[in-house]
Symmetry: C2
Subunit: 194 residues, 2 copies
């Protein structure tokens, strides 16, 4: 879709994100991004130095947003089952609301240059680590009955990832309802009792 409005750094990043999600990072050129925005390719370089800078900006913004949402969801919550429910809801809502960003984060980590990759993987590990520690903590306290809290954590972190493919905002369930159901699935996976 051609747009004639002036490009900004934010519109460059957003437009590139949709293309990277659709065609992959390597499959998208700066010329493709410029065409999608209706600007000249040299004009893009007023806003960003490189395609790599755009990829990093997409993932960094996506991770910061997901981490901030998780912080907010967990603020003041002490009960470990409620923590897991809220963390899962926050995760699933992020998948459903930002499908293109999440697709790029899933598929393009290997497209990052080493320094950028370290930074993004650190944020991803920070996020996953919080969910993991909730499950370990509930397991240690005897609230969660599972032989393998580590595998349960992987399942919880992953099970909503595909939802972005089938979810439609106009579909049968609102995103908050889907998130609540997945929160329930997470409690079941870890064998939450009480």
């Amino acid at each position: 879709m051609q747009r004639s409005t002036a490009a900004t750094r934010a519109t460059v990043v957003d437009s590139a994100c949709a293309l990277f999600a659709d065609r992959g990072y390597r499959g998208t050129s700066m010329k493709d991004i410029a065409e999608a925005l209706g600007v000249s390719a040299p004009g893009l370089y007023n806003h960003v130095a490189s395609k790599q800078e755009i990829l990093y900006a997409i993932m960094d913004k996506a991770m910061d947003r997901a981490i901030a949402a998780l912080d907010e969801a967990l603020a003041g919550i002490d009960d470990v089952a409620e923590q897991l429910r809220r963390a899962t809801e926050s995760l699933v809502l992020d998948f459903l609301r930002y499908p293109a960003e999440v697709t790029v984060c899933n598929n393009e980590v290997r497209g990052l240059e080493p320094v950028n990759r370290l930074a993004i993987v650190a944020k991803r590990d920070q996020y996953a680590g919080r969910v993991r520690r909730i499950i370990e903590s509930g397991h240690r306290a005897g609230r969660f009955q599972t032989r393998t809290p580590d595998l349960a954590a992987f399942a919880v972190l992953e099970m909503g990832n595909g939802a972005k493919s089938w979810f439609r905002p106009s579909g049968r369930y609102p995103d908050t309802y889907v998130a609540r159901e997945y929160g329930e699935f997470a409690l079941r996976i870890v064998g939450c009792t009480g």
Copy 2:
């Protein structure tokens, strides 16, 4: 990795699969595939007509293999809980044993030309439909306690997909153990009783 052995259609497809998984379909050229095989790019065309033909061959083989494994896992099993356990184990083992093929199937459906896409999506729907019908059937029979069998099916189908990213054959758990745990998670998600 350069190989000097003569290329065959099978080695072309396998080599392309690793590259497509790593760099994306659009991000991989026929020249890249030829280089990985240590043959000339024109020489590839003795084995395949186009990059599109290779992409279709990868996905078609992957779907046929997954469907055959599911058939085998379910053969002669009447109990719906055991069906779900075995179907989930079969699915997760496929993810763990063929990570590159699964990555291509996940990420590159949009890279298929329309006729090829219809054929692959039909096989994917056939596969998912069988898992979905097991869950619906258990739900109708009162064996599975869930408000949303449709969402439970999505969660079951997706939760093992990420396992291919962290699983290592030399790691803590054998693939069969991981698959068995995910089978247990599936039964928990659907609220299997008895």
